[in-house]
Amino acid sequence: MSKNHQRIFEEARQKQLELVTRRLFFKESLLGMGGMALGSFLSGCNWLGSKDTSGLVFNSDNPLLPQSPHFPGKARSVIYLHMAGAPSQLELFDFKPDLMKLDGQDCPQSLLEGKKFAFIRGVPKMLGPQAHFQQRGQSGAWVSDHLPHFATVADEVSFLKAVQTDQFNHGPAQLLMHTGTPRLGRPSIGAWATYGLGSENSNLPGFVVLTSGGKFPDAGKSVWGSGFLPSVYQGVQCRSEGDPVLFIKDPAGMDRDLRKASIDAINEANRISYEEFKDPEILSRISQYEMAYRMQISVPDVMNINDEPAYIHEMYGTEPGKASFANNVLLARKLVEKGVRFVQLFDWGWDSHGTDESLAIDYGFINKCRSVDRPITALLLDLKQRGLLDETLVVWGGEFGRTPMQENRDGKKMPFKGRDHHTEAFTIWMAGGGIKKGTSFGETDEIGYAAVSGKTNAFDIQATILNQLGFDHEKLTYQFQGRPFRLTDVHGRVINEIVA
């Protein structure tokens, strides 16, 4: 941006802010128009520079300004459902009748030589599929009886059955999936998307995270962190218990009117300071306080599922007031409907090693499947009936797969049936948002051990998600430490085989 341009831009921004803050600012529509006017003015100036080369410029005063991506994206929003702990593909989608024949036999040496596993030691036994499978719908996709509801919508999704990773521990593998590196410090995919797109709804965060299963994902908050991007792009955790967003509730004893009066006073005093200092940062702060006030209404409103009709509760299996995956899925739909760009769900408890009942492939795992089956199905159907599925990309998966061998932790027989972490093949599916319906890409060998064709990895998934949002993953960059960084580093290929 030339000096002159920069000056003009500064002037425009300041005028705009002055204008906006003088208005009756609690009239949301007015402000919305102000924001839009500013946005269109700036895009007319092409102040961001050419996006296809140097990436975006961070505007500290309005970092969430809606922005257009590299090309018109098919998806407007993303709902990413991450089953933390890594669900077994062999009990859900990757049907391997031949594995059944090997059940209980020693694992052949050829599968063990030169391989590393997290917990398997020595020679484990093979473990046949612990579920019944059927082909579903027109596409004939294999879906096990663990997901009876989902089986009815299998025609809506594209399965990726040969996803691979090189990380066999949860934390690093989750980081790789969401930040493009197994180490800490990089921005998450939701942060990248928000950085690239801004937020459509100035009263809600652009990137929302919801967790269930009683624990955070293994990699902690870094999987929705902003890494080296400005912190404004990190995921905002919304909660279905307690305050929906931290500190959203007015303190005890302060009602809405008094809160409004106090923000009025703060902003009035700030306006006097602005007259004195002429620092545009003060105008930004004034508008942030106004937005905070509006968020205090809009966030609890969108996070309240009590008013949803009974059939919706029935469909999702939601129970208002409780923290559950089902509630979070319904919230995801509501958030997307309100213009939130990226909704990330983490459900903990999928690490079916067989160390105890809750983590057994033949007990706890089935319960986990039950807890997600209805909500996920409802999500696809509900988005569809609202005409939102075409513009909402839904992604479902874990951080790696599970072994066709039964786990023998420390070389011992386990109390329950379980499978160890497996990097060589697992299943992820995508639906909506410009993804083909009723297809499957990638295949594994006859026992589901290794990917044999159509191999994909975390970078490909990321490239595809960004592609659906309208970004060339090689060009969505951020200048840091002297070089342009991108989510997919030097990797990634858009999986065109599943793009409609």
């Binding site: 521990n169 800490l184 955070f216 959203i248 004893g253 005093a269 070389g411």
Partner: protein, 919 residues
Amino acid sequence: MRLPRLNTLTWIILFLVIVATGFSFVISSNTIDYNTEVKPIFNKNCITCHGGVKRQSGFSLLFRSEALAINKSGKAAIIPGDPSNSELIRRLTLKDPEERMPYKHPPLSDDEINTLTKWIKQGATWGDHWAYVPVKETPVPKVDNWFFGTTGGGSWVKNDIDHFIYETMQENDLQPSERADKAILLRRLSLDITGLPASTKLATFYLADKRNNAYEKLIDTLLSSPHYGEKWASMWMDLARYADTKGYERDDWRSIWRYRDWLIKAFNENKPYNEFLKEQLAGDLLPNPSDAQYIATAFHRNTMTNDEGGTDNEEFRTAAVIDRVNTTWETIMGTTFACVQCHSHPFDPFRQEEYYQFMAFFNNTRDEDTYDDYPLLKEYHQEDSVKFLQLKHWLHTTAPTRENELIKFVKTGQPAINSLVADKLVNSALTDTKWLVLRNISEARIPHIDFEGHSQLLYKYKSWKPGGKWMIHLDKPDGPIVANVSVADSKGSWKLSTIPLPVMHGAHDLYFTYQNAQLTNAEETGMQFDWFFITDPFPGKGIAGYDSASKYFTDLLFSRKATITPVMVENPSALFRNTQIFERGNWLVKGKAVKPGVPRSLGALPKNAPANRMGLAMWVTDEKNPLTARTIVNRIWEQFFGQGIAETLEDLGTQGIQPTHKELLDHLAWKLMYTYEWDLKKLMKEILLSATYQQDARMTKNAIEKDPFNKYYARGPRVRLSAEQIRDQALMVSGLLCEKMYGPGVFPYQPEGIWMSPWNGATWKQSDSCDQYRRALYTYWKRSAPYPSMISFDGTSREVCTARRIRTNTPLQSLTTLNDSAFIEAAQFFAIKMQVTGAKTISEQISKGYELAFYKQITKEKLMVFEKLYNNAFTRFKTDKEKMKLMAGIHQQKQDPSTAALVVVAGALMNLDEFLTKN
């Protein structure tokens, strides 16, 4: 001849045109400068394909030797002195798009091609990037106006800094601002030096101090405040990625707060910066290191430890070593070195193998991603500190030759061999990949142990049943038996034991076999090991005092009356690790072996420097190191002005943002080393005494137009406070602040449900009494779930080094200061403070509150705003007793509508932009 009549303006324009033409002629005939004219063209257009990462056609422009070499086409791209035969120029000017460079990109402009042509003609000399050349003494520019002199800079400048600043101000047609008023300077200085607003006492004194040097005296007072160390430690903690947990999945507790306290003390003692760095990098390698010098090395033990089950410990040890390399560069030398892991630096003169040479300095410490974070320094308390002294004394008098070895072992537990190095496991295992366990009829190997003639094995183990038979075979599973042990049942708790060893030399593998008929099945664990220590029997047997001394030795190894801190301990030669290049950065694919070394482009190790971390520390702190002094000067400048002289604190290289005042940076860096001898307080004082710093921060229309980001410093700094300052200020102004220093992390109020790490039952238990109101730097820092208000105000998770926080302005920040209980409580106390000042009327109380926060009178206009808010609140609370009580807070006798309304006003004052900002 009669000249045409022209008006004055035209004459001036004409004159300027002539001057400008003359200038451009002068410039064009001058030597082309590689750094400012050539390198930017290469970096922008060429180096992506012909640099450190890619070398299309074998051609690279990174180093001169590469650029002049004959490349794959058989031609030299650059022939010095001969542009017309240089392939580079030919390829830039071709018409055929397949041949013309840059390939598939727009051609270079004629100007650019001319520059390159001229440069080759002049000999194609390479220049070094400014930041990679040792700092030279930089003369101070004169500010006297020689042209159209109006108000001269002479009356404005206060010290050398101002000369540099005034010069660029003039170049940009800017005038300095007036000095800010006393109240503003008081608050600015206090926040900048101590991170806290000034106490009322200090404020009263300073505002009444009419001496000429009152401002300087104030600086001295603040620099000698113990809060100074707290403020600068909290800055350094971001760089050192200080946290109270280990990171990754379980993110369990770690005891490393002694390092934070070391930082505070080091700053307060004004430890010279070179020593400050040397102790952190290599304190353990100093002669007879003190506890404090060991603790300083915890700087690089702030790397993460992965406790997740099933992790490869060597992988995460390696990750920690790599993190140490990257952090050293980013923190101390303002350079991004991380990308050299996989390939030579794309833009800067660093080769890939140099990354691993540098890594070799850090690759020989004893830490191995163990669960307990070994090595741990133990600082003994109470009776154990007495035992320690008695043991030391006894060894000193009875067995002086063993004193160092045994004392080091008692203090650091080193050099021990961790059981997690075991391999060749047969019915044995590394349980949770952390400890070796043996079962009935099992085998395991501890590879490559050098006995160095020692005759005893001391080991830490657990067992659950009697009857265990443990044998050690030499070099083969059925090799000679060197030990045959009937394992005593430790009933599931850790125990120490010893076995005698035959005298052996050189490296051997130890094969363990184990049997225990009492174990009911093949999978039951019989025995678990933590570590092994190759030593000799405790000395002095038969001498009086032997029994108690040897008992003290064992007691101290298990002491619970000790503060532990992970520290660096170097491998003894027997455990030396070789360092190899990781091919394309993959730690599993090892290439050529390398020795410790520093990048050639940045000089060499000082002559007397050993090839270990101490040598590295000597190189880093050598005056010839081009980066160390520049980096810290830049960082301190950023703390005061909100931006560095070079904005990219993390990268002073060719891709970083170029400094706005390079000469000033060099001038101060030189002065820090040679005049101030690395004394940071002196450097700070010089900056704070400059007229530049003392300017008013008010902006004029002219200034906003010409310099929206204050890069030329024609006004004072105006920057939002840091997360830490925002909390600390609220506590200070409300009177809640607990000024207690040091100690383990504390737990102020935090909402429910923030901590939910898997496999970790730890809960946030709110501290009581004073500890709830400690300064932010004492707040327990959990990496996977940091304290929420810190994060909203751009604090970081401290998983890796953060060289620079990027400031944002978001509604979540507003919600935090409006609604977080910590801030509400502060408002409640602040309101009462306003009342007890003796001010009678509400107006006086509000005015008093404003004065407490800003040290100056509130304006009428603002007072009216808050009176209105007060009246509004008062009317409500008069009719709603319930709400009134909730708002007024915990003070029973103060539960009245007036107090409650004043709390609302106090809360508003604490949300003002001028409160959250340094003005």
